[in-house]
């Protein structure tokens, strides 16, 4: 029984990390209708910014950790907005295939340029938050795991508030529903889209720092696999749906953790994709999404 509960905790923390990345994917897809393949690499850049910031800050303090995370989030928000402005905006309105290919190109660029700049060998991430392990009736949970769950929950809440209670959030929802009509009522689409990218990238950066805290070995390709799984989580929950992304991420994290500890652990990588194919076949709108009819 205690093994089961321990695995549950492990799954929860893994799911929380996927959730942080998935939120960014789902937001961008909701507003722009394309998979930002480069999102997972912004996640990686966030971890590296956190690495460099962490080396100049005192280790093991809460404020030090917060500063490093803030630096990563700010840096990546800028990066995300820059990418959107330079590379995605010129292609807006054209065939979606082109944007998709460009996104893949951007992702590869960040990965391989990262390898050139940072070197491909993994580095040790500094302990920027106080690191402690707590025991509770035989169950073990580390401070970092708690941090991930708490931060993910806070960010989820913050995002929901932003999207449903602020003007820019309303504008985002309007653009997601109908970009043409949104423009007609006076919304500046460029600003809204830039903001969406910035916000999504900041979330990815936070995810990157927290991921690196839990698995303190970072390298330029660290975003590829978590990114793909996070996207699967977003689709599972219903792409474009914020609570859906979180739910999907939790489910994926749990399933993966239980498979990992079982006899079929060698098929772990295939699990995420099998879930993806299954969902797309049987419930394409996802668990919490609604099927929208495509008007021609």
């Amino acid at each position: 029984m205690s093994e089961f509960l321990q695995q549950l905790i492990n799954g929860l923390s893994l799911g929380a990390i996927y959730a942080l990345i998935a939120l960014g994917y789902t937001m961008v897809y909701g507003v722009l209708r394309f998979i930002n393949f480069a999102h997972s690499d912004v996640f990686m850049v966030g971890a590296f910014i956190g690495y460099y910031a962490g080396r100049h800050l005192p280790q093991g303090t809460v404020w030090g950790g917060l500063v490093a995370m803030a630096a990563a989030m700010a840096g990546c928000a800028l990066l995300g907005m820059l990418i959107e402005r330079l590379v995605y905006r010129p292609l807006r309105g054209g065939p979606t295939l082109n944007v998709l290919i460009t996104a893949i190109g951007m992702s590869l660029f960040l990965e391989y340029a990262g390898q050139l700049v940072f070197g491909a060998t993994p580095r040790a991430f500094p302990t920027i938050f106080p690191s402690r392990v707590m025991e509770f009736h035989g169950l073990i949970i580390s401070m970092n795991q708690v941090l991930v769950i708490v931060v993910a929950a806070l960010l989820l809440l913050g995002l929901e508030l932003t999207v449903f209670r602020t003007r820019i959030g309303t504008a985002m929802r309007a653009v997601a529903l109908n970009p043409g009509a949104a423009q007609l009522v006076g919304i500046n689409i460029d600003v809204v889209i830039s903001f969406t990218f910035g916000l999504g990238s900041a979330l990815a950066a936070a995810g990157g720092v927290l991921y690196a805290l839990n698995y303190p070995s970072i390298d330029p390709l660290m975003g590829v696999v978590p990114g793909l799984k996070a996207f699967v989580a977003a689709v599972l929950g219903g792409v474009g749906n914020i609570p859906g992304a979180a739910l999907g991420a939790m489910i994926l994290g749990m399933v993966e953790t239980f498979v990992d500890g079982s006899r079929w652990s060698t098929y772990k990588d295939a699990i995420a994709f099998t879930i993806l194919i299954g969902i797309l076949l049987f419930r394409p709108a996802g668990l919490l999404g609604r099927l929208t009819a495509e008007k021609v």
Partner: protein
């Protein structure tokens, strides 16, 4: 012929003879100089380069200097084969040195064998590598020995009755070493408490470690690369698994301590070399290496690269030629070659029977424990 013409002819003859005698012997090296395992490729490259420089400074081999041509396989599967082909066909090397990873050695070995160019792997320990053909050699021990060493160490020194194994599912070295450890430990009366697997590049092992913790064991064997091993041990300590962790030569790296931190205390692993070894040969090697490479301390792969180049040069000398079959026979007859990793003797399977060195990690430092003879 008039006198001046004769003089000129003689001079020309002498010059061409000198040129012919001085024509370099080309050796090819393929290694992972960039990519995920760049630190290892660079280590062995530094060892090989230093060996070639020393040999040339002492007059070369058979009166000719050695020329080292290096190709980078970028830690990418499939590239080693291309690199090997280029070195053999384009650069016409007389022998190949490479690689550290068993998987990548297995890619290039069939090509060396097909072209009848001797290949010496500095540090590939999977038994299959030399089984490819009679032109493929190695200067290190193989996993059947390494697995036995760790199995005996666990049972003997650590008095472990139940050992769990957590190994990679996609890495040739890890899969092979895990299997051998399992066989030897069970044959010695021990019980394998659990067998868990992970994928290369995985970061989260809590699921596997939780299962291992539930099974209960006296030690855990992690026959993988240091990148995953460090994370595994760290997470294990967080989960309350305080038993000793054991590993193989895949753990060799300074990053092991940087990533693993304090968690690594109380762990042991087997390797080919320790810079703390008191023997004069090793001390000289370490001094020269530090002088040559800006104070860096050599690791096992630098030492093995150094020895691989040394064995090759020695074999060329004994063969008296760089001809493929002759060189192959000379390599096969290598006996008691003294190098940085001990005495190398090539046996009938073209493997080297070498001692293993066990290293313990205490107080955040590597400590030499013992040498286990073959």
């Amino acid at each position: 012929m008039p006198a001046p013409a004769r003089l000129i002819a003689l001079a020309a003859l002498g010059a061409s003879a000198a040129l012919g005698a001085g024509e370099p012997i080309r050796i090819g090296e393929y290694a992972s100089l960039t990519g995920k395992e760049a630190s290892w490729g660079q280590s062995s490259n530094e060892g090989i380069t230093m060996a070639v420089e020393e040999i040339n400074a002492a007059g070369g081999v058979l009166g000719r200097p050695l020329e080292l041509i290096t190709e980078d396989d970028q830690t990418v599967p499939g590239q080693s084969a291309t690199a090997a082909k280029k070195l053999i066909s384009r650069d016409k090397v007389v022998a190949l040195l490479g690689e550290i990873s068993s998987g990548r050695s297995l890619e290039a070995a069939p090509i060396a064998q097909a072209h009848r160019v001797p290949m010496i792997a500095p540090a590939s320990t999977n038994p299959k590598v030399t089984q490819v053909g009679d032109y493929v050699f190695r200067v290190c021990f193989i996993d059947s020995f390494q697995g036995s060493v760790m199995a005996r160490f666990a049972a003997g020194e650590l008095r472990a009755r139940r050992v769990a194994i957590i190994s990679s599912m996609s890495n040739a070295y890890s899969v092979g070493l895990a299997r051998i450890f399992r066989e030897r430990f069970s044959a010695g009366g021990g019980v394998i408490a659990a067998q868990q697997r992970y994928a290369e590049g995985d970061k989260d092992f809590r699921a596997q470690l939780t299962a291992i913790r539930a099974a209960g064991c006296d030690a855990v064997f992690v026959p993988g690369y240091y990148t995953e091993a460090a994370l595994i041990v760290r997470q294990a300590r967080e989960l309350g698994l305080s038993v000793p962790f054991l590993g193989g030569d895949g753990w060799v790296s300074d990053e092991l301590l940087r990533i693993g931190g304090d968690a690594m205390d109380g762990c042991y692993y087997s390797t080919h070399f320790s810079p703390e070894n008191r023997s004069p040969v090793v001390r000289r090697f370490v001094e020269h290496y530090r002088a040559r490479w800006s104070g860096e301390t050599p690791d096992a792969f630098a030492a093995l690269g150094y020895d691989a180049a040394g064995v090759l040069a020695d074999a060329i000398r004994r063969a008296g030629s760089t001809d493929g079959p002759a060189l192959r026979d000379a390599l096969a007859r290598t006996r008691d070659f003294v190098g940085a990793t001990g005495e190398t003797t090539i046996n009938a399977d073209r493997d080297a029977s070498k001692p293993a060195t066990i290293i313990a990690i205490r107080d955040g430092r590597f400590n030499f424990v013992q040498t286990v003879p073959p």
